[in-house]
Amino acid sequence: MRNIERNSQRAAHLGIAILLLLVLPLTLESFWLGAVSKYLSFAFVAIGVVLAWGYCGILSLGQGIFFGIGGYAMAMFLKLEASAPELPDFMGWSSVEHLPLWWQPFSSLPFTFAAILLVPIIVAFPFAYAIFKKRVSGVYFAIVTMSLALTLTVMIIGQPGGTGGANGITDFKTLLGHDVISDASKRVIYFIEVGLLLLVMTASAWLLHTRFGKILIAVRDREDRVRFSGYDTAMIKAFVFTVAAVLSSVGGALFTLQVGMITPSLIGTVASVEMVIYAAMGGRLSVPGAVVGALVVGFMKSFLSEQFPEIWLFFLGGMFIFVVALLPNGLAGATQSMLRRTLSTKEHP
């Protein structure tokens, strides 16, 4: 039975790789390929949610915070390059005359990349460790993260001179002189994104297979017992939360690069809750499921909002209720139990 599970995991990874590397680029026109890369930027977030929530029981409704860190860092770099040597246009609208000090290092791409990876660590780890040390968890933790996401959006909107306010940051042109808007360059970015995603999927599956992965499950199910096996569970939870934060940030950076903009509404509470829904839809115990969830929900959002502009949110809501009520382990869980049923009837007809 365990072999079946492992093999089906492998098959799912392989299937996604083929789908993303061959099938979609060969069949989709550039508009839809662009849409897929947008959905895939949420797949990074969803994988983080699978690790933190599915395996370790940490429900964060504030993943948008980290998505925003990556998204805004990338946007600041692109915006500086697009408007150089002038100030970014929105600063002028708020009569900001000098580039704010905290913007200046973002003219360097290595610094920007480092910020995308390190700032979420610096923010997430101390915060999470302190909170988990105090044994705040479950719903309370979710509420704390949710209110932080709200706070962040309010702060961004309140500083239009430095952040672009409610309109966010947009109008990018080049990355180190390479065009980022044309279909051809979006295709290149798509493949870079898919490569990164496959890397993250493999690393996550490997992590879950290690002793650490087993400890995550143990913490989720019986944190007390884990303490009495000699573990500092706050450290373990803070670590996995930080991993999820970094994945979110990478997703945010890729989002900005692909979509060409970042706004506060993309990182607020509603967006953060949606990020959890991607993982729930795909299956919160499945890394490939998270990717499928991001694709399916993303596509449904695009499709339904086009077909039923007035009432599409009801369809989306209905879909979520259906999944939560009837497929507790999402699409991946449903597929797996179907597979198991077919196989066991084959074995014992």
Binding site: T210, R211, F228
Partner: protein, 267 residues
């Protein structure tokens, strides 16, 4: 009778036990331990000590403070006052995971295992190396690790179930698994809260044998209600009542102690 007088009496009883307590080294020494929950003293000025390789059983009516006492030793509950010294370390100030790393293992009343993991995985993550994040990520399942898991699996009578999801075990087997998880930690002191609760008579016998084998190398403190089981394992019995030590000695001694009879019949 005052607490001090009780304590004195208990000490005298302890000294009159046939086993010469003085020649064994103490592993655990509890002094004037008190914990109060909103003014209710669950454990009240309790002093007692455990020797190395001793198998001590704690009995007492419901609400006597037995579980609370174990909770305080392993750090789950912080005492209001008093001291718990293990070897030469004061435990009352340490968080749970550090107490475990000092060498104290705790088994809870209801089997507390990871039901989504297999028996082998339950044992593996209880192995006391690699408690840190990086160490556990890069932890290698070496031959030595496998042998250790196999050996413990054998000892707790679950050798044939190592690949079974532990949620599928019988109640008694879950109890054994949790004892096995403690053994893998290789603690010097094991605290077991009702290890045979819900077990069949046959399983009880097997458990008694298991505990006696463990006591050859480690100290055990066991909470138990079943007097037949107590007789089959105990070197020495401590009777708690209303958070205080009522009596201490061999099984026969405490069973014939008029105060103990009074407490048990009075309830």
């Amino acid at each position: 009778m005052t607490a001090a007088a009780l304590h004195l009496h208990a000490t005298m009883d302890a000294e009159s036990v046939a086993i010469p307590a003085s020649c064994a080294a103490q592993i655990l020494s509890i002094k004037n331990l008190t914990v109060s929950f909103d003014g209710f003293k669950a454990v009240d000025n309790l002093s007692m000590s455990i020797d190395e390789k001793e198998l001590r059983v704690i009995i007492g009516p419901n609400g006597a403070g037995k579980t609370t006492l174990l909770d305080m030793i392993c750090g789950k509950t912080k005492p209001t006052s008093g001291s718990i010294r293990f070897h030469d370390v004061e435990l009352t100030r340490l968080p749970e995971f550090k107490i475990v790393r000092e060498g104290v293992g705790r088994k809870f009343q209801t089997p507390s295992i990871y039901e989504d993991l297999t028996v082998a995985e339950n044992l593996e993550i209880s192995i006391p190396q690699a408690h840190g994040v990086w160490a556990s990520i890069f932890f290698k399942r070496t031959q030595q690790v496998k042998e250790r898991i196999d050996a413990i699996g054998e000892q707790i009578m679950l050798a044939d179930h190592l690949r079974t999801k532990s949620g599928k075990l019988s109640h008694g087997q879950k109890q054994w698994l949790e004892i096995g998880m403690l053994l893998v930690q290789d603690p010097d002191l094991l605290l077991l809260d009702e290890p045979v609760a819900g077990m069949s008579p046959r399983e009880r016998e097997q458990t008694a044998e298991l505990l006696k084998t463990i006591a050859l190398g480690k100290s055990l403190v066991v909470i138990e209600h079943d007097m037949d089981f107590v007789k089959s394992i105990a070197n020495k019995v401590s009777v708690l009542h209303q958070g205080r030590l009522l009596s201490e000695g061999s099984v026969d001694q405490v069973q014939n102690d008029p105060r103990v009879i009074d407490v048990y019949l009075g309830h």
